[in-house]
Each structure stands twice: as structure tokens, then as C-alpha cells.
């Protein structure tokens, strides 16, 4: 069956599974932050459940504990996701590059907690090993 070709949109075309989901997210210094586990989509009017009657856009990259839901099905509740606003995204390629430092984002709170509460209490844990 030959289908008509789609119009050629003016912007970069991204298929979610092909170009965004599971991609590594790097911060402005090239430090790995997380992977893109899901995306949050809103209508341009802010509606939470858009349909085809109004345009919808990606507002946030989502990252979270998805191992269990990928094995057993379902998805984490909305409150369990860590959101990275699309505003912070600087580039999309083989990785997703952010324009901010990773330690300013909520998604890295566990790393900061382990650094401050565990690593920092070890002898020599508060300075650069070099």
C-alpha cells in the first residue's frame, strides 16, 4: 500500500522512541545526569490531557525509578517522576545536552545526598583525591 508522503515540517523531526527515550542526558559540563525515561506533554493552553483539537508540546523530560514498572508493567505515579524542564535542553543528538549544571537539578538529589551524608564523612572524603 503506497501512502502519500507527509508534509516536510520546517523543524527537526524527532520520533520519541527513536530519538529521545532512553537517551543519555548530559549537563553543560558533559557530566551524565540521567536518562530520558519518559516525556511530559501538555497542550499549548496548559491542558493536562490534550487531544487533536489543539496543539500539544513536550514540556519536560522525565526520569525516575522505572525498572520495576518496565519489568512488571504500569508506570510510576506522576509524583514520583523527576522533571527536567524543556527550557533547560540545549541540544538533541545522540545524547540530550542541557544548558545547566546537573547539581542544580532535582533529579540528582540522591547523588548529592550520598556525597554529603556518606562520602563526605569518610576520612579524606571532602577533598579532591588529586
Amino acid at each position: 500500500m503506497n501512502l502519500p508522503p507527509d508534509e516536510h515540517p520546517p523543524g527537526l523531526v524527532l520520533d520519541a522512541r527513536l530519538h529521545l527515550l532512553d537517551r543519555q542526558v548530559l549537563d553543560v559540563d558533559g557530566v551524565p545526569v540521567c536518562t530520558v525515561d519518559d516525556l511530559e506533554v501538555h497542550g499549548v493552553d496548559g491542558s493536562d490531557l490534550p487531544d487533536g483539537s489543539r496543539p500539544a508540546v513536550v514540556t519536560s523530560l522525565l526520569s525516575g525509578a522505572v525498572l520495576a514498572t518496565r519489568v512488571f508493567g504500569g508506570r510510576p505515579p506522576s509524583s514520583r517522576w523527576h522533571r527536567i524542564r524543556w527550557t533547560h535542553v540545549a541540544d538533541v543528538g545522540t545524547t540530550v545536552a542541557l544548558g545547566v549544571r546537573g547539581d542544580t537539578l532535582d533529579v540528582t538529589w540522591t547523588e548529592r545526598w550520598v556525597r554529603d551524608r556518606v562520602i563526605g564523612r569518610l576520612p579524606g572524603g571532602r577533598h579532591d583525591p588529586g
Binding site: L3, L12, V58
Partner: protein, 123 residues
């Protein structure tokens, strides 16, 4: 809306006839400017009549190798089509319903991978 709720969802036509499953969602970076980049606008849904999953997008790119894998996956995803977001009447729990008079388009990505260095930069 979480995108994962759309992926793999069954797609029904205007008369509730089953059409397939959402295997991917296509965005275009031409939405309102949001920071450095334009916000990805939801352009359409890729619907496969035969399977709810897609592997490496063989059915929508010009990749032809490995030949056996490419032929197998293209055959498995035969009949895949793109439907514009404007043709989506409702996103219901566990299903997507298309509006009357919806149109099917080729799922091919505009620009073959070799023409898209933006997606193949070395890291």
C-alpha cells in the same frame, strides 16, 4: 499527559474499529520557543496494524542492512502509517480514537539517516 500512556495504546477508528497500536510518537521542533530550542510539537502518531512495538525504526528509515533483519522488520511492520495529531479525536484511558475522515501518511522520516548528521554526532 505522560507520553508512556500513548505508546503501545490501541488505536481505534471513528467507528471504533481497531486500527493497530501506537508504536511511536513524532515531534517537530517548531513549537513555541522554550529556552534555547523550540518546544517539540506533537506532530502525529505512528500506528502499526500488526504489532505494538518497533525495533530501531526500520519501517520508517532508509536503513537496508543487515539485509535479512531489515527485510524481516519491514515485513513485520508493513501497513504502518502516520496519522496527524489533528486527526486524533480523543485520548481515552488505554485507547486512542481517530476522528472521522482521518488521513494516513507514509511513516518515513523526512531526511534519511545519512542526511541527518544532527542525530549521529560523535559524543
Amino acid at each position: 499527559m505522560i507520553l508512556g500512556d500513548l505508546l503501545d495504546a490501541p488505536v481505534n477508528g471513528p467507528d471504533d474499529e481497531p486500527l493497530g497500536y501506537v508504536v511511536d510518537v513524532r515531534f517537530v521542533l517548531d513549537g513555541p520557543l522554550d529556552g534555547t530550542l523550540a518546544a517539540p510539537r506533537l506532530h502525529g502518531l505512528l500506528v502499526s496494524a500488526r504489532t505494538g512495538t518497533s525495533f530501531l525504526g526500520y519501517e520508517r528509515t532508509g536503513v537496508r542492512s543487515p539485509a535479512l533483519v531489515a527485510r524481516w522488520l519491514r515485513w513485520r511492520h508493513r501497513g504502518t502509517f502516520l496519522v496527524h495529531w489533528q486527526d486524533v479525536q480523543a485520548v481515552e484511558p488505554g485507547a486512542v480514537r481517530l476522528r472521522d475522515g482521518y488521513r494516513r501518511y507514509s511513516p518515513d522520516l523526512p531526511g534519511r539517516p545519512s542526511q541527518r548528521p544532527d542525530l549521529h554526532r560523535a559524543t
